[in-house]
Symmetry: C2
Subunit: 187 residues, 2 copies
């Protein structure tokens, strides 16, 4: 079975706890996962389209891992869709790149969980908020996996983050185990 490609899009992963822990945990299983960090690969924002398309073709499932900022993905992942998913390759009558391939999300978010419900502040669940990604999967003929969504603790200041460091690391490590179990179900 082909390895799963994990596209990680975090604009500052060195300062991230959750996404850094997930990327490390997945990368440690090197026979199963290839972890590809977009911001590290393209610090100037210019994506190598041919290299990205070849990477996808060499793998099986594709997981997009990112923190949800403003109810969507970080900008470089949006650039990745716009650049890499070309007509004739990802979509169009002759395109086959994603046909039968699984596409899934592994996302963290910092908004209070009670906000993400039909009666909460967001008025939608997190999975509903991510519907544009489900539409992309449908559009390119991929099988959309149920998103793995994880509530990171919301700390806005540097002080809060520092004070709660150990708690966040433990939280992130448990979530990394949950993520592996989630991906296992769809392998």
């Amino acid at each position: 079975m082909k390895k799963t490609l994990v596209i990680v899009a975090h604009p500052d992963i060195a300062r991230s706890t959750v996404n850094h822990t997930w990327a490390r945990t997945l990368a440690a299983q090197e026979d199963r996962y290839t972890v590809h960090e977009l911001y590290a690969a393209y610090p100037n924002g210019k994506i190598d389209v041919a290299a990205e398309q070849a990477l996808i073709e060499a793998h099986g499932s594709v997981i997009l891992q990112f923190p949800v900022y403003w109810f969507s993905c970080p900008p470089l992942l949006k650039q990745w869709f716009d650049s890499v998913f070309t007509h004739g390759w990802a979509f169009g009558s002759s395109a086959t790149a994603f046909k039968g391939r699984k596409l899934g999300l592994a996302v963290s978010h910092g908004t209070p969980p009670q906000d993400y419900s039909h009666t909460g502040k967001i008025r939608h669940t997190l999975a509903e908020t991510l519907i544009p990604f489900e539409i992309i999967a449908n559009y390119i003929g991929a099988e959309y996996l149920p998103p793995f969504t994880f509530h990171a603790l919301e700390f806005f200041t540097e002080e809060e983050i520092r004070a709660n460091h150990d708690k966040m690391v433990a939280h992130a490590e448990q979530a990394a185990k949950d993520l592996l179990a989630h991906l296992e179900k769809f392998a």
Copy 2:
């Protein structure tokens, strides 16, 4: 009444017909609209947060104008949300920047219109696809206007675009008049 700020986010507006026509039409009404082109203002992608916040504060309604690529906005507009909508300014208990301010979208899309329905390929309307932007408006306390959505003609090759140039310009000019009438309703 304060002027309306139109944030235009098109990665290559010189080659755009629809968005270029809209921006030109809105900019011509300089007593009503300020047109701010993000990709022209920030060719290196580094957004001046203080300048953007001051620009919003100096205006009334804010309209985000962009082509819908992969069911969302171009990456620099996503960067704009992530950079400009800071805690304490756009959200948080003391934030007032958008309280009572109107926020609207003016978007073009190239997907066949029949795909955008509950029974079509997308399984959602275009307005539903744009729900993450409605969530942003709600989250920052802005009044979300009904999006102005416009179906651009889908041409994928340079040849098709060239062959249909006059038709596209006429189409875009009619849409610019419709956009002005739409914005008028909510002024």
